[in-house]
Symmetry: C3
Subunit: 325 residues, 3 copies
């Protein structure tokens, strides 16, 4: 594996899930793979879970880790040619990226959507610059439009819960209100991974919040939240700002703060004793009530803990490929 | 050992001091204990000595270390239930702490007193949240009211100086003036550890600066500084703000800047060729004169160096307990 | 080697270059030397290349690394005696440096020139305090007046290009315009190292930009840039502010923004198919054109990659000396 961005990068899903359990049973089993290999984690935005779980995964695999916090404001890379660089951009990406890459064997990139320029965000400009100019394996640690380490961890968590049942689970991704405009990276990747997994997948949100077809594909969209939740085995709540699919000028805006979408006991009551999921951090009272997130059906802590596992599988796969370089 | 906060956590003092010398003679002797174990150091406040010495101690013991700087202003955890989290608190402690804990085997917490709400500070709210919700061994890297790694290092330093003498040393903890309001964590822990050690312990400070009975216990308090210092073998100088014991509304305030309390040669002259101690950083001219801190009787550098040793003993003890988990 | 500041510290240049190639062929060959040894990297100023390459070199050599970011504004060390420290300086260097040194085996220091006080900068005050008071091996990670890890990496890069030729190469250090006032550390060290190497060395810059004699020595200075570049095998471009040699009151000022000094194809055309070099980061359009820096004759990426190698040689030398301590 040279890049980890989309679900296709992980290959067969059942194989990946089996590998996740193998690593979870012995997190240090593949420690020899990372010896004298260095992971560089490059953060253009703050991170808590991703920073900690990725660092832990890399150390489990015997790697050295260098963490680089790039102040997104202070470190603007020039990307054009022919420019006289006498402004606030002190380095050109054609120098900066190959140089950083020269000190490591693998790169993780964190770079949020700006939510002002849809084309720029959905082109994954920063991530693709690293892929193109670094010459090293690159994985997304949440970028403008994807968060595959989260989606893979979510799938691992669902797989652990669903083992030994016969039917396909019903999985509902539901929008929920929030006080700030948030990126679509988490719902995008979750939709993409659920479409690839063997589940009955439904997406529900107010009108105008339609996810990009590239990620949501042919998933069933149901605008009536309660109807969508009926019989759900897994309820995945998340806020996102307008993806600008039907109305590009609304990209990144908050179209609704409808508190009737907050997941509470009444919502969970129509599910099939459904499990509650969220990628964290979560704002209680907006996304979900205290009662639901603290209930025995809440999977938020196991999901977060599985971030170490999903990342371990990804790094292991990348290390294995290095033998061929 | 599952927590390290108070002197009782270390058990028998002579055993702990012997262990400190054993580790000082071979800092890497117990390196096997930390293999594939991760320490997470969580800083809500800045740190120099603690950050460096703790990281060094953990690496000596073969651990991986993850350092997390939590901007105290930016990362406010919600602690209440039933709140609609639409303000500046973006995560609830019931999610944040278990998640961080899931990526490590041991936690060190740095969290200063706010010095505005005595009850909140003395309840050790932040530290106790980590103990209660992390499920992992937790040690204080200076918290609202205690700094046990410092007190233990101080005791190791005194023990090294006092070896092979017969009498109990006279130890004087003396308040000294400072330009800013400082927490009571260092004097609190020093008093607690001296009470537990086999020394003749005296505390001296201006009226109103009485330390909390929980820490100072039955120690002798002498308001006349020169009288207190007479015949002292060790002089431990430190500034602290009003602990609010006699007058709760004065909590955290500066009650005195009396420069006659600054430790100079005249003060040291009445001691028994006493050693000068301070936890550092120290403001010369306020706490102590250049002459005293640079004298051959000054122990400030050995005390700081012994922070690596006291922390090594604590981490080693915690690692040993993990075999039983 | 106890300090690494000037070219003399590296000893015989051919031996050092041979050692660099040996390490480049097997970066982990001397990993045993660093076992249980800790490098402390202390940054008073931001760093990208130096931070990453030094950390990588130390890890290659098996060391533990502690990175300390000292906010230059917030952490002002008192250096005088007899001062009442009631201002913004919270610690005296006589405590701060020995304490930091007590937690490590080797120190790297990054501390830029302030460009306001020539005497202070050229006395290398911060670096020399660490050398004098730490008691540990110290190397410069770019300080007020020198950047020897860069100059050594540059020399390694030139050596790789020049192998198997008979003549001494002509090397031209040329000033180029920039929008900000920059230190002289890079040209100072480059000049010093070129004087020590077996090359034909020429320096060219507008009048007033004369480098300090301590570094430039008897190097040939040519004020006509095009004349200087004629027949050059290596063109090393760099901006620097006024070194204040001929006119001390101009120290640190921008005396020229003459864009005719920007290295473009016309400049390179008069060279002997010369290689283009720069330490990075570089502002395109000011220092050099896109065409020149992207040409096959550009060595900027190999130079940066060789920072890992030059630093590895330095750390290896310092580790070898420790056996004698």
């Amino acid at each position: 594996m040279r890049t980890f961005i989309n679900v296709e990068d992980i290959g067969d899903i059942r194989t990946a899930l089996a590998e996740a359990q193998e690593i979870k049973n012995d997190r240090f089993k593949y420690q020899h793979l990372g010896k004298n290999k260095t992971l560089m984690m490059i953060f253009f935005n703050n991170s808590l879970r991703t920073r900690l779980s990725t660092q832990k995964a890399a150390m489990n695999l015997g790697m050295n880790v260098i963490v680089l916090d790039v102040n997104a404001g202070a470190w603007k890379l020039e990307t054009e040619r022919g420019v006289i660089m006498d402004g606030d951009k002190s380095e050109h990406l054609l120098e900066a990226i190959p140089v950083m890459a020269s000190y490591c064997d693998m790169i993780g990139v964190r770079s949020f959507a700006g939510l002002t320029d849809r084309d720029y965000d959905y082109a994954e400009t920063v991530l693709n610059q690293f892929i193109r100019y670094s010459g090293k394996p690159v994985f997304a640690m949440e970028t403008a439009t994807v968060h595959p380490l989260q989606a893979f961890a979510d799938l691992i968590t669902m797989d652990e819960q669903w083992q030994n049942r016969n039917a396909r689970p019903k999985v509902v991704l539901t929008w929920a209100p929030h006080c700030r405009a948030l990126p679509q990276a988490v719902p995008n990747s979750f939709a993409q991974w659920m479409n690839a997994a063997d589940v009955d997948f439904v997406v529900t949100h107010p009108e105008g919040y339609e996810l990009d077809p590239k990620f949501v594909g042919n998933a069933r969209v149901e605008y009536n939240q309660m109807k969508a939740l009926e019989g759900a085995d897994f309820v995945y709540a998340k806020n996102w700002s307008c993806p600008g699919v039907t109305c590009p000028e609304d990209y990144g805006k908050i179209l609704s703060k409808d508190m009737s979408w907050t997941i509470d006991d009444a919502h969970m009551a129509v599910t099939n004793n459904g499990k509650f999921m969220h990628c964290l951090p979560v704002r209680r009272g907006l996304i979900v009530t205290d009662d639901v997130i603290e209930s025995k059906n809440s999977l938020v802590i196991p999901e977060a803990a599985n971030r170490e596992i999903s990342c371990s599988v990804v790094i292991k796969r990348m290390l294995e490929c290095m033998k061929d370089f």
